[in-house]
């Protein structure tokens, strides 16, 4: 075999090996979470709040974190949808193709997307101080919605950009206004993509810890108002892993499994959505 063929095979081998390494880390992580989490998971874990303090009490489960996370990520997703849908439709229906505002907004979303979540947390904290809020569900929702806004907007933007030009023309030709075109034609045409964007953003919101550590706080009870602190699954993992008590650590493992399953479900559902709905839309 000539030297260059040896080189070819060596590098091809290296490539396959590194691909396998990267994929096996995923398997290893999922396996670890399952092996640790499954024995810790039982009915009490998902139907009870921790008893005797989340850090020391051995009894109870993580219901406070499950409900808190759903409230928080749900609220943040709703808030982010209402902003990003409007912005994205504006960018695609109203703004001109070579508009500076559109280019600037897209660029700033791209840049925002890379900003670490701890910075969103710190910024959320400055907003809290500014408005005199305490750590609360509301403050957490604001911080997380800022965090997921760029993700959601860019994903929606990509989908709506794919909507064919003719569809706009057809709608205008029928006498529809821009507003009608935007919400009744374009938004409906891009619905599967929009739903996928929403799911991805929800997944990111429910898994983030650094942005809520300052803003939403942590508590043993289920929040009954927007102005109460709320527990979240990521922080339930973080705090309860730090104790020396095995029963409490079990709660962390269970939370990690629950969180990972939620993320898995989101990723599968968004894949199915993309596949299923792209069949029926006008191309």
């Amino acid at each position: 075999m000539s030297r260059r063929n040896i080189e070819e095979n060596v590098f091809k081998g290296l490539m396959v090996v590194s691909t396998l390494i990267i994929l096996s880390t995923l398997v290893l992580i999922l396996a670890t979470v399952t092996v640790k989490g499954l024995p810790a998971l039982n009915l009490a874990m998902i139907t009870q709040t921790p008893k005797g303090g989340y850090y020391l009490g051995k009894e109870g489960g993580v219901l406070n974190a499950i409900v808190g996370s759903l409230y928080l990520a749900g609220g943040a997703t709703l808030l982010a949808i209402s902003i990003s849908l409007v912005v994205v439709l504006y960018l695609n229906v109203y703004a001109k193709k070579d508009s500076h505002l559109a280019a600037f907004t897209r660029f700033s979303f791209d840049v925002l997307w890379g900003i670490p979540s701890i910075v969103y947390g710190a910024f959320g904290f400055t907003i809290m101080i500014f408005f005199g809020l305490r750590t609360s569900l509301l403050a957490g929702i604001i911080a997380v919605s800022l965090l997921i806004l760029p993700i959601m907007s860019r994903a929606m933007d990509e989908v709506i950009r794919m909507v064919p030009e003719e569809l706009f023309d057809a709608s205008y030709a029928l006498g529809a206004t821009r507003l009608e075109t935007a919400f009744k034609v374009i938004a409906r045409q891009a619905l599967p993509g929009i739903l996928t964007a929403v799911l991805v953003a929800f997944g990111r919101g429910i898994g983030d810890a650094a942005s809520v550590i300052f803003t939403a706080g942590f508590t043993d009870s289920i929040p009954y108002s927007l102005f109460r602190p709320a527990a979240t699954l990521p922080l339930a993992i973080f705090f309860q892993l730090g104790t020396p008590i095995p029963e409490v650590q079990d709660r962390a493992y269970a939370s990690a499994l629950i969180l990972t399953v939620i993320i898995l479900i989101i990723s599968v559902v968004s894949r199915i959505l993309t596949k299923k709905f792209t069949k029926h839309i006008v191309k």
């Binding site: 990267i22 504006y90 979303f109 900003i115 701890i118």
Partner: protein
């Protein structure tokens, strides 16, 4: 609608401004150079030297990149140039999934697997004692976390190299790898750099996973087995006591501002490169 669009475009500035406002009290008393280059971190005595934390961040990020970049580039080349379409259909969702796993879960995995591995096997192998909570533990976890972003961008960039260019090289009798080495990589270089810089800025700001495995000792690390205390971990770890010590909150929000500006800088560079790459293809 337009107002909302303008508002959302201005969030970055709003964040920088808000954090700056909050960090002004400490900037008014201490010169910025002292804050950034002093190694003395004693909040109770009013001494806020960020240097150990900045060095901690640089160590962890640097080692993470050294692990991630070769693996990711080889994988990206494989997926974009060699792999069968069916292989790509299988790997893409898995890599996406890796991107979706929350950072605390990575952190937990790091504590359960990587930290004991380093404590019991890797450090003793080099004849060094380590608790396992170290620069290298943080770097391994971080490297895995930035795999998806580097691979994703690099695959896009490699695939955007026009096929005619590689065909010309193959027609001249070059092997596939020679073509990749001399033609594809050279053509894709700016985009590859952008991919790495995006990974870098992700690693730079990652908080929870690193906080959980890097050890958090406020000292400049001198080896990969030493503990490190990166900047984001510092911010997240002290939210509790920061309001009870004078200037502490101001110092931490200054740290966030520094983080924001550095990441912003990296992001703008890489995005500008990517936009150029995109334009040059069209």
């Amino acid at each position: 609608m337009m107002l909302l669009t303008i508002f959302s475009g201005l969030i970055v500035f709003l964040m920088a401004f808000g954090l700056y406002q909050r960090s002004r009290p400490i900037l008014a008393i201490k010169p910025l150079t002292e804050l950034l280059f002093s190694t003395s971190w004693h909040p109770l005595r009013g001494e806020f030297g960020f240097f150990p934390f900045i060095m901690g961040t640089l160590w962890v990020t640097g080692v993470a990149l050294a692990i991630a970049v070769p693996l990711c580039l080889l994988t990206a080349i494989y997926l974009s140039q060699y792999a069968h379409r069916r292989v790509r259909e299988w790997t893409n969702p898995l890599i996406d999934l890796l991107a979706g796993i929350p950072s605390v879960v990575y952190g937990m995995w790091g504590i359960l697997i990587i930290v004991p591995l380093i404590k019991n096997h890797i450090a003793p192998f080099f004849g060094i004692f380590s608790t396992g909570y170290s620069v290298i533990a943080g770097s391994i976890v971080l490297a895995i976390m930035i795999f998806p972003i580097i691979i994703h961008v690099a695959v896009e960039v490699f695939r955007s190299v026009p096929y005619e260019v590689s065909e010309a090289s193959l027609a001249l009798g070059a092997t596939k790898w020679q073509t990749v080495k001399h033609v594809v990589i050279r053509k894709a270089m700016p985009g590859v750099i952008a991919a790495i810089v995006l990974g870098l800025s992700r690693a730079f700001g990652e908080t929870m996973a690193v906080l959980m495995v890097a050890g958090n000792v406020a000292k400049v690390p001198s080896s990969v087995f030493d503990p490190a205390y990166p900047l984001p971990a510092l911010i997240a770890n002290n939210y509790g006591e920061m309001l009870s010590v004078p200037l502490y909150d101001s110092a931490l929000l200054l740290a966030s501002l520094v983080l924001l500006l550095v990441v912003l800088f990296f992001n703008i560079i890489s995005r500008v490169i990517l936009i150029r790459v995109e334009r040059s293809i069209q």
